[in-house]
Amino acid sequence: MYLKRLEIQGFKTFPSRTVLEFGPGITAIIGPNGSGKSNVADAIRWVLGEQSPRLMRLRRMEDALYAGGSRRPPSGFAEVTIWLDNTGGWLPLAFSEVAVTRRLHRSGDTDYLINRQRVRLRDVNELFLKARLGQNSYAIMGQGLVDQVLSLRPEERRALIEEAA
């Protein structure tokens, strides 16, 4: 058990606080086109510290804030928290449970928190780098991109192997 829970608020199509609890094994996310499934995957990528808006289908990072609907105003901030079970010690922290939060304000300011403590982006990056959930991780495959690994340049593919090594 590693991934316990995900909480999304104000991010993309989740204006209200939304919680997903994960079990061991396989969790399937299903639903109609445009319902928000890939947005959940984007939220996971985002809270892990992704800095490239394009990888979450955003033109700019500000597009992550819920844009409002016909009778609902846009969100003032976007926040995602991921809870991880660390009883096995796979994360280099002395906690048995680790909660990482990323919050983007309309002003453009971003907060990162680990177990409610304000940290810097690099602390989040270092935390996940060892767990192979860092940037370019092979552990996240975006929609329509499954065969991207086949079209990589040989040097890019080597980087993937190096990361695993």
Binding site: G25, I26, S35, G36, K37, A41, G68, A139, V146
Partner: protein, 156 residues
Amino acid sequence: VQTQFRDAFNRISAGFAEAFTRFFGGGAAQLVLTAPERGIESGIEISARPPGKRQQSLALLSGGERSMTAVALLFALLQFNPAPFCVLDEVDAAMDEANVTRFGQALSDLTGQTQFVVVTHNRVTMEAAGTLYGVSMGKDGASSVLSLRLADIPET
């Protein structure tokens, strides 16, 4: 570092070859160093030959064959150095029935060391899942998420 890379490369290539052959019921695949003498500086190519066919460029592979080949490499990476969890968004979109089944089976084989979050429209993949979330679009472009069981989803 040079031997660490070489060792990783060999083991991932072997895992990839094995996963490919299992998915395709035959054929052969491997990773190839473009410049072996340069060791860790070398690029990496993929060689893949489905059963009954001669060795050809990757470009000729079909959509589903490309998906299965890519997933075989992913699983080789995960077996060599397991990520704690892995998010797959509709990687089964181009797969036919038989391949979706093999994919689901391979996922299940890896759940001992990696949790999977899969977005899918495919019922066979859903059946492999232990937890099911249904996402629906409500008013004002707001999604709502509901915990589901397989019995809740009508057969098409």
